[in-house]
Point group: C2
Chain length 384, copies 2
């Protein structure tokens, strides 16, 4: 006799449980190799500490409170978030020092930030007087306090003011509002991060640092001291640490080392390993030297290139992820090379970590091929 019809709909089981082997993970799933992850965290903190520079890792890369806590435990002074809403799950997890490394516009966002700053130490960037006015109104209404950083453009051509007079105008706008403290300068050059050659990247980072140093000097000549000079990213951090200009650095992707950062020529000073993978399964094996994976555009960000294929713990020398559809990945084998069998699991190194994390609700933490834990990517989707 058949079992009676259930009255409750099934729920989706988690992708993995502690103690599972890799093969037991339901795919697609985002994996963190804890050994490589911890080496990356240790290496970056050691480099920052040796240089006497504060490390404030960027949480937009991981969006995962468990990772922020691991960074703080090693000596990070706090974290960066890119949006106000993104800070919420970190604050909830006990991260109490958060820099919003970006402008916010409009009173609703300023009010949320002012609310958050009643519970922790918050700072935010400005590059226009109107932003200062919104922050002043919100913090006055809630009797809260904020540190305000003035972002300067050191060559990227994105946000930030261009010259010292513009900084001084923003300082004038801050002056009437004692609840808004001048935190210092933010100076970030995203264009430097992916310059491939090591010497070329060093030179590009030097040009950016020179612009930052020139601004600090111009402000000093005007009688303005910058308590903190914050900036930098995973591609430039070794040069930024040695520059003597920055008092605080904001690398994010170093935690994971995505495929795009992996294409940078690394220096001897700071070696980082791939720790982030998307586990996928061969769901179809057609003719013509191809197989089809269950991980496509909805599991992997492809803006910085397609993922790399790993097999048996190392990059595959024969398999190439050739195209991504919404839920399919098309993998091709080199001439004469074998294809993995239907049901085989392949690991993929994502092209770009930040937007890949933003696709997943959980990170499967693995050590030595065994699942240790599932970490919620609690800030996923928080872009407001």
């Amino acid at each position: 006799m058949p079992p009676p019809l259930p009255t409750l709909l099934p729920t989706l089981p988690p992708a993995a449980h502690a103690g599972d082997t890799l093969a037991a993970i339901d795919t697609p799933a985002l994996l963190l190799d804890l050994d490589a992850f911890e080496r990356n965290l240790d290496a970056m903190q050691a480099a920052a500490s040796a240089a006497g520079v504060a490390l404030r890792p960027h949480a937009k890369a991981h969006k995962t409170p468990a990772i922020a806590l691991a960074q703080l435990q090693r000596g990070a002074v706090g974290i960066c978030c890119q949006k106000v809403s993104e800070a919420l799950p970190f604050l909830q997890a006990g991260v109490a020092d958060i820099h919003i490394s970006n402008q916010t516009v409009g009173l609703p966002k300023a009010m949320l930030l002012a609310q958050l700053s009643l519970h922790g130490r918050f700072s935010v960037c400005v590059d226009a007087v109107q932003q200062v006015a919104d922050l002043a109104a919100a913090t006055a209404a809630l009797a809260s306090r904020l540190a305000v950083f003035i972002e300067i453009d050191i060559g990227q051509g994105r946000c930030g003011v261009a010259d010292a007079p513009a900084v001084l105008r923003l300082l004038d706008a801050l002056a009437p509002h004692p609840q808004l403290r001048f935190g210092g300068l933010q100076a970030y050059q995203g264009g430097v991060q992916h310059v491939r050659g090591h010497a070329q990247r060093r030179d590009a980072a030097a040009r950016a640092a020179e612009r930052t140093a020139a601004m600090v000097a111009a402000l000093a000549a005007a009688g303005v001291a910058c308590p903190v000079v914050t900036g930098g990213g995973s591609g430039s951090v070794e040069f930024d640490l040695a520059s003597g200009v920055y008092t605080e650095l904001q690398p994010g992707s170093y935690v994971f080392m995505d495929a795009d950062y992996g294409r940078n020529e690394a220096g001897a000073a700071l070696r980082l390993d791939h720790s982030l993978f998307v586990a996928s399964t061969v769901m179809s094996v057609g003719g013509g030297g191809r197989c089809i994976l269950d991980a496509g555009l909805k599991s992997l960000a492809v803006d910085s290139g397609l993922p790399l294929v790993w097999q048996a713990g190392a990059p595959s020398s024969t398999l190439t992820y050739a195209a991504a559809n919404d839920e399919h990945g098309i993998v091709r084998a080199a001439d004469g090379a074998g294809l993995p069998a239907l049901g085989s699991q392949l690991l993929l190194v994502p092209g770009h970590c930040d937007p890949t994390l933003n696709l997943h609700d959980a990170l499967v933490a693995v050590r030595g091929g065994v699942v240790q834990d599932l970490w919620p990517v609690a800030a996923r989707g928080l872009s407001r």
Copy 2:
């Protein structure tokens, strides 16, 4: 006296409330223009009904139960999902006829599907005997029933078997399992969907339909009738409807008409409008003819191109979305053209709707510039 420190952390307010104007929406936010949306739904259902072909819209495009219910209410026979897990929130919302238009591999996914099929009418694709074995074991264990479609490759070179003998082998594999009913063929050619020229796309769709028809004929010659022949997409649907080959069509993107589909040369038979937008705010206005939006890679999928900028309800003739960073969009103005002021709201038409929906937890439904409702994108992230 300052107010006492609150003990509860704030929560993130919704992006909008019913009755809000566009300007009041907290950005970035995903917007649905209900008038255009309903015209698209009506036009597609009318075209399918006129051709006597069943419409089974693909829910991977919208991941939104409220949209599936609107499609069913207009006459759709059911929906497609691309993954088993994706079906769960639709089943929970009362959508009881769901075709998984894809292969599943492994017993855990087969067990979940067998569980779901106790609550509704489910079908799934196969292209390998091992998939049939997993489905047979799972449905036998749970005393559930499934319709099984055999996917054929009609030129895309992705999933699907290539010839009639392979179909017959899969039918032999199904035969011992009475709980697995042969549902028919699935035949989809994704490569046809974005052929730009109307005549070229018609010819490409005709070649794909000929391959489908040839397979149906070969099976008939072997004594096998196909109860349903399902396939097609938003780019080929007008040709597929007229082909006489398909009994059921699976378009998804027609609901939204993203920028990539908008680049197709449309035919007279089926006019569709852009209904999907990402509302974004100018958060910085630098020099050099640029402004910076708060919507980047985490709010918009860019795999099929950057978004189009709209102003005042129409495509902007002067503003171009030139580059996407994680949380920044860089917009450039044509020579001499003005830039929107700090705090202005711009609407963006995403390049590719499916992975854009997969970034957002809610869709702000708007009519005549006034927010009507927030619809949960309940299947977001469900790629297993």
